[in-house]
Each structure stands twice: as C-alpha cells, then as structure tokens.
Amino acid sequence: MDVDVKTSYRIADLTKSFDRAGVVALQDVTLDVPQGSIISLIGPSGCGKSTLLSIMGGLLSQSTGTVELFGADVEGPPREVGIMFQKGTLLPWRSVIENILLPIEIQSGKKAARTARPQAEALLTMVGLSGSEERFPDELSGGMAQRAAICRMLITEPQVLLLDEPFGALDELTREKMDLEIQRIAAAQGATVIVVTHSIPEAVLLSDTVYAMATHPGRISEVIDIDLPRPRELSIMEDPAFGRYTTRVRRALDRGHDTAA
C-alpha cells in the first residue's frame, strides 16, 4: 500500500471481539484520518469508542484488520501519540504538577521535567488550575482532576491526540473554552485530533469529520463532514449551518441506537 503523507491513521476492516465476554466490540471499521484534521467519534454507550481508541493507541490489539499510523503498522503505543483516557487516573503520591510532568519525566528524565515546569504551569493556568500545583489528587474535585489529566496529555505536545471524553466532567463554559484550546493547539502544531464525545455541539464545533457509531455490533454508521470555516469561534454555534449539522448528527445517532440499547 502506498504511503500517503497526508494521512495519519489509516484503519481498514478492523474487527475486535472480546472472546471471554462473547462481545463483538467493533466490526469492519474502516477509517482514514488526514493529518492535521480533527475528527470525532460519537455514538451510544458501549458501541466501542473507547475500544477503538485503545487500539489506535497501540494498547490493545485488533482481532482482524490493519491499523497504520503514518504508513507504519501500530504495534505498541506510537511515539507521536498522546492519549487521554475516560478515567483520568492521577497518581495519588504525586502532586498535581508532578502528575502533569510525569510523561516528560518518563520520556526525557527528571531534569527535563524540572525544565518543563513553566510549560506545566502555563497549561494549568490555561485550564484554570493555577494555584493547585502542589495539591494532591485526593484534594481535587472531579472536574479539576480531569483538567489535570488534560494538562498531562498536552505537556508533551503530541502530534496525534486521542481523547476519550476529555471534558465529560466539565461545565459547559469551561468545556467550550477547552474545545477552542484544542482547536488552537491542533492548528498551531499541525496536530491530528481524534476525540470521543457525547456532546453533539462539541463534535460539530471541533471536527472536520464526525463519525457516528452504532452498536450491536459496534461499527461506524455514518460519516458527516463538517464544512465550517476555521478557526471557529463560539459564535459559530449561532450559525444556521451549525444547527443543521447538529441535527444531522443527532439523526445519525438516533438511527445508531438499536432497540436493545
């Protein structure tokens, strides 16, 4: 297969089943993600979004099919990728800032982590957590912990971001602010973003393409390209085109909900 430099992820005929539980989590997923684009996965609970993200992140292997990133098979967590999980998982023995600096420490050592402290502080300010650097995770609210986890993922400036419901525990305002930040970061770094979300407006606001998924078995049911100009501001949500897109996505979701779910 020819390597297309414009493509980051190229997924073909991917299937994943959990044999023990007798579940087909994903069936025949085919998906090309152009480099620098933002796509979102939206779909009913249990349709395989997290599973797909785990496979893309090299943390889980598919049952059949191929997953390539920049032309190479994904066989483990690729260097270019930063992942944020549905569960934040901060380490209780590290302060907030130490948690955020963890990926730097792991990839480049303690000294690099010390050097990166200003960036970490800037990220904390961005997510509204400045002043909480030295607090410990059990002193944070749910949303604060989630924001700290976002900072931890952003600190390494990954080329590809895999985000699993990153803003689920945030209020709408903070969430929208975060959406714009993600858009800004992606544009500034030419990064590719794949985000799982349950918020239809968020999906439309962020994405170049929305993949609507359906369940039993988990699959991609519809692909909706969002042709709105970038950079997008919150005001775009007033745009009638935005409304039309949200309606389309909502309809796709409705269809994806099978009777059992």
Binding site: F18, D19, R20, A21, G58, L59, L60, S61, E75, G76, P77, R79, D138
Partner: protein, 282 residues
C-alpha cells in the same frame, strides 16, 4: 473471570537480548521451567561441593542426597515408622497453621481496624514475636506435655505474626471512595468489613498465609528439635547428630516438598477467592 485481551508489548527500541531471554523463559511451561531451575540449582550445588572446599559432612553432594531420598521415599512408601513420624509432623503443621491463620486473622483485624489495636496491641505482639520463641518451648511443654499439642501450638506461635501483620495492612486496602459508597448505603462496620475490606484485603491476607504456612512447617520442626519426642523434625535432628548430612538433606527435602504442596494449596485458594485480583495485563 476477568478477561485478559491480548495486548501489544511496548516497542520503540529494539528488544534487548535480556528481554528476549526473559521472554523465552516466561513462555516455558511450568514443568520445564521448574526442571530448568532444579538442574541449575543442582549444578551449582555440585560445583560447590566439588570446588567449594566443603566436606561431605557439611554439605553432602546432590548425588548422595539423591541416594538418601530414594531410601527415605522407600521407607515412607513401605509405611511403618518413618511414615508415622511424618504423619505426626503433618498434623502439627496443619493444626498449627489453622490455628495461626484463624487467630492471626482476628488479631490482625483488631490491629488493622482499631486505633487501640494499632497503638497498643500491635507493640505487644511485636515484642512477643521479637523474642526467640523456642525459649517458650519449656513453658508449652509444661502446660501441654510432650505430645503434639505443645508442638502444634508452637508451630502456630511461630507462624502467626505474618498473618497478623498482613491482615492488618490489608485492612487499609479499600479505597476512600469504596468506603464512602458503603457508608452511604448505611452499611454496618461488620458489612463494611465483610463485603468490602475483607475482599480488598485478600491479596495481603494470602501473602500472609503463604508466609504462615511455610513458617508452620519450620515451626513444627523447630518445636520437635527443642521439645524432643517424636516427629519428622526429630528424625532430622537424629540424622544431624549422626552427622549423616545426606540423610539430613533428604529428610529436609521431604519436609520442604510437603511445605511446597501446602503452599500450593494456599495459592489455589487465592486463585479461587481472589480471582478478580489475578494477574493484570502488563
């Protein structure tokens, strides 16, 4: 019961030779792996005997111990005296372990669950444990005689501490969220303990029981050593004072295999009762 989907190994750098070897070792079936270790251990042992400048009355050679093992097994399988001695010791071990694990569990709870236990009861047990317990053998014999009662109590005495400490440590294993959940359901202390803390403590408790069962073996043997009388440990002592080191090692090996079998039973119980804690995907 937990599903363990296949996962990728972390890649990046090329795998080092060490990790290739270790991967190969990890994939050996258990009998082969055990055989490998046994062969290496025997080889080292033979080397020590051959070149370590150690006389046979200090460290017998694997070969002569092997001969004695055959002898011992022969005596065991034809029943009679030695089998009787082993049976006595087995009883001491099992009774001692059962006593130590049940009482140790209760004391561990007391220490792990209450401030008073932690602050005042624990030091008492540390003090008792730090004493050379064989010094209490005469007291045990004075009270319980030369029969197996004094021996299995001694075995229990010698194996109770790991159970206590690990049970106490395990009482801290449930997360704050889980405890909050139970409190919100108005669970009584008993239910918080039984339905939450106890299952969460199982990995600790089983580690304690594993140490305990092995200590019970040595405890029973030590009690026989000091307290005299009958049992397999006494047979070891007799062989030792005859300087029949090959015999000593052969008898010890039989005891050790017994210990290993009991250890295996505890591990089986762990697999059954703490199934959800079995190996996580690495």
């Amino acid at each position: 019961m937990t599903s363990s989907p296949t996962v990728h190994q972390p890649t990046g750098r090329k795998r080092s030779r060490v990790s290739l070897l270790s991967g190969w070792l990890d994939r050996l079936p258990q009998p082969a792996a055990v055989a490998l270790v046994v062969v290496i251990a025997l080889g080292l042992w033979q080397l020590l005997v051959s070149f370590g400048g150690v006389s046979e009355i200090i460290l017998p050679s694997p070969l002569s111990v092997g001969g004695q093992i055959i002898e011992v097994v022969k005596q065991l399988t034809t029943g009679g005296f030695l089998m009787g001695q082993l049976w006595i010791t087995v009883q001491e071990i099992v009774l001692g372990f059962l006593l130590a694990s049940s009482v140790g569990f209760l004391i561990g709870l007391w220490i792990g669950q209450t401030e008073f236990g932690r602050k005042a009861v624990m030091p008492l047990f540390v003090v008792v444990e730090a004493s050379p317990k064989i010094a209490f053998v005469p007291v045990f014999i004075a009270w319980f005689g030369f029969g197996i009662a004094s021996k299995f109590l001694m075995a229990a005495f010698m194996s109770i501490f790991p159970v206590i400490i690990n049970t106490a440590a395990g009482m801290n294993a449930a997360s704050a969220e889980e405890i909050r959940l139970f409190r919100s359901m108005r669970a009584s202390s008993w239910e918080i303990f039984w339905k939450l803390k106890f299952p969460r403590a199982l990995p600790f408790i089983f580690a304690g029981l594993k140490i305990g069962i092995v200590s019970a073996v040595t405890g029973a043997v030590a009690a026989e050593f000091i307290g005299g009388g009958v049992g397999f440990g006494e047979q070891v002592r007799v062989a030792a004072s005859r300087i029949a080191l090959d015999r000593v090692f052969a008898l010890i090996l039989v005891l050790s295999m017994l210990g290993l079998a009991l250890f295996g039973l505890v591990t089986l119980a762990q697999k059954k009762f703490a199934f959800w804690d079995s190996k996580k995907t690495t």
